[in-house]
Symmetry: C2
Subunit: 437 residues, 2 copies
């Protein structure tokens, strides 16, 4: 009998790879931070002596969800201002609050709140994009949460950095400081084509090549952005990024609501990942990302919530559902972005966008044990004909019962293992007091 | 001190009328099935001697949600077939199952499952549209759930009725049988312009006038429906309904994804209610209802889930959110269908569609005590800047804690008062076994 740390025996196992498969009577054997085997329960019990055995009699076990685009510190601004045009929302509400409060404490507390919400919703990894990446990285490390932390670059001064050089210097220092961390990674995060100059993009391109870092960029979020770029640069933003050498397999292009067929083909050709933020795009009236066209063209399509200030949650279960529903209406085809493809977008494709698809995103031997269990015995998910359909179209994030990251239990029967919800609520309410007064 | 049955003291009270208001330190006084007063807590305690007092320290109290279009027996087919074009979905999956199983037992059990899900999601009233309205009505009555039951009319035989005359006769018998019931009402429910002949619509129009009954009709669900009608009848379905005299304030027009500005103006002029089923329209790729245009034109806009076979839930909290998000992208305006308007659509406007706006849909003295309490202390709804925004954009239906219908508690701290969830789950699972074999 081989000693291992953990054996999980779910009612249904959805490994994501192979695609669309639902296994019954199967177990996941975990040792340390890794999955060592996916095998029949009888075989597992005969072969392994686990330190802990977890039976999940009414649950589906899926790979931890990957939120491929978020600004978690902004969770502290959830619902601060809604139902407003983008520019009024930014200029009259979000930016003034950021100008007054953004700093280490704000970022740490916001990330903590975000992690609590993500874990309770089955998310085990996020692609973070905000200021103070040092504080973010330290907070994710402390909480044992997997994250790719963006190194922000923008052409105007903030509390994080004053000048272009300072953005690069401070960002690279963060990269160096956290580079050995098991759960962390860094990306280069130029804000958007309309807030970053060519000179910065050129440096980003070189750094991305040298350090093998993803480039995490808001791109083609609105029609206005495209029009402004044509006027200012004589080119659509995508064409400008092509000219700057940034359209390659390091690019994580977020939003992409405005795309020609040629741009879609170029994304597929170059290995660009597109992150679709269905709910944010709807809420800010940004436009409709042609997700099914992208998928059919072979583009790696991942999903993200965007920040909770424009969503207003970090719910990847809901985001899968919204993306799957919206894709059908946008493609005028009820078979577009089927349930298994939506689940894949929210897991393995997110991993691929980060360059981490050898490490996470599916339940396969050798991968990290990032796992999410979802109860399906609530009457809201009954009767149950197809497990993956139920996960995508009927389940709610509150049905997530247990979560592991790198083999460590982070949520146990809906209770956060490392975070005190009462304390967190108190902290959050104090931020609210400060922000509204 | 005036004796009353119940005094509810929520942290926040959202009466819906007046529009957009959130009251603090207010209570709702209830006697029998009615709201007798909405007043300050101190005043309420000084004036009333309630048999029961309920403090809801972390909750918002709202009018019970009204699902203005659903086919609850179809809840037994939740997730049976997804990601399919409409006609394959109907012809290969839904209709064959209905042909084999639809009958009294199926309808009773489906309604029971639907009621359990609706109550757990804060819904207190539905506008039902399916076969066997006698069984539906008896089941809603037995469970103390408020419902308007459609009397189905369709030009082909089903287990419910064989001929046009039989549909009318059986429907009218149901109307007569249940007409005195406090929580029930009936509507005339011709299926759709493409499945009902002019001769039937003419009888429906006369009956609607004589009996003062709403007409609950799927209308302009898809572009195909409009094209087919032009070919077959030489007119768009809406124009055909106008010619038949059905475009009036009895009409509950469901879906309406294809509308000209003239049709919108005609709806406003005639007092038509439009029921928007955002998630079903997305999932079946039916098209986009121009909800903001309708609202601005003064059309009464209500919300519905449609059946759980094409949604796949009966979640009106989620439907409010989906409708509010989608409206913005469709109108290309981030201020479209703001949170307060979405909540109104899911409550008072639903009541108005049914002709019940003097009875339900807002928390006002004299109205029925149909009430829903939603906890807002979960970290997913923190920090809390604006209560109505949080209800619409961040809260999930699992945060619904307590529900009353006509002053009777139906959900108590998430436990169903009149339904055994275990028994229900067993029944549901037996239906699944029968349907898949």
């Amino acid at each position: 009998m081989q000693p291992i740390d953990l054996l999980i025996e779910p009612r249904w196992l959805v490994p994501v790879e192979p695609h669309g498969v639902v296994l019954e009577n199967h177990a996941v054997a975990i040792d340390g931070d890794r999955i060592v085997a996916v095998l029949q329960v009888a075989e597992a019990r005969a072969h392994y002596a686990p330190r802990e055995r977890v039976e999940l009699a009414e649950h589906a076990l899926i790979p931890g969800l990957i939120n491929a685009h978020t600004h978690n510190p902004m969770t502290l601004m959830r619902g601060l201002a809604d139902d407003l045009p983008l520019m009024r929302w930014l200029q009259e509400h979000i930016w003034p609050v950021e100008a007054r409060f953004m700093g280490s404490e704000f970022v740490r507390d916001g990330v903590e709140l975000g992690v609590a919400e993500m874990l309770r919703g089955g998310t085990t990894c996020c692609n973070e994009n905000y200021f103070f990446p040092d504080v973010q990285a330290a907070t994710y490390r402390q909480l044992g949460f997997r994250a790719m932390v963006g190194l922000p670059i923008i052409e105007f001064p903030t509390a994080w950095a004053q000048t272009r050089d300072e953005y690069f210097e401070k960002g690279l220092a963060v990269h160096d400081e956290f580079k050995g961390e098991a759960l962390l990674g860094t990306s280069l995060a130029p804000h958007a084509p309309y807030t970053v100059a060519d000179a910065s993009f050129e440096r980003i391109r070189i750094l991305s090549d040298q350090l093998d870092l993803p480039v995490h960029l808001h791109l083609h979020e609105t029609a206005q952005e495209v029009e402004d770029s044509k006027r200012e640069h004589g080119a659509r933003p995508f064409a400008r990024m092509q000219a700057l050498g940034l359209v390659n397999d390091h690019l994580i292009a977020v939003h992409m609501t405005q795309l020609t067929d040629a741009e879609i083909a170029a994304c597929a050709e170059a290995g660009v990942s597109v992150v679709h933020c269905a709910e944010s795009n709807l809420k800010l009236a940004s436009g409709f990302c042609p997700t099914e066209k992208l998928r059919r063209a072979g583009v790696n399509l991942a999903l993200g919530t965007d920040g909770a200030a424009s969503n207003n949650d970090l719910d990847m279960v809901g985001e899968m559902r919204s993306a799957a529903l919206l894709a059908k209406a946008v493609a005028n085809d009820a078979s577009a972005l089927d349930a298994a493809s939506a689940l894949r977008a929210a897991t393995l494709n997110g991993a691929k966008a980060l360059g981490w698809n050898e490490r996470i995103g599916s339940i396969e031997p050798g991968k990290q044990a990032d796992l999410t269990a979802i109860r399906l015995d609530d009457i809201e998910t009954q009767p149950l004909y197809h497990v993956i359909s139920q996960l995508v179209y009927a389940a709610g994030r509150h049905q997530v019962s247990d979560v592991w990251i790198a083999g460590q239990r982070k949520l146990r029967d809906r209770v956060l293992v490392d975070l005190d919800v009462g304390e967190l609520r108190g902290k959050t309410q104090r931020w609210r007091e400060r922000i509204v007064t």
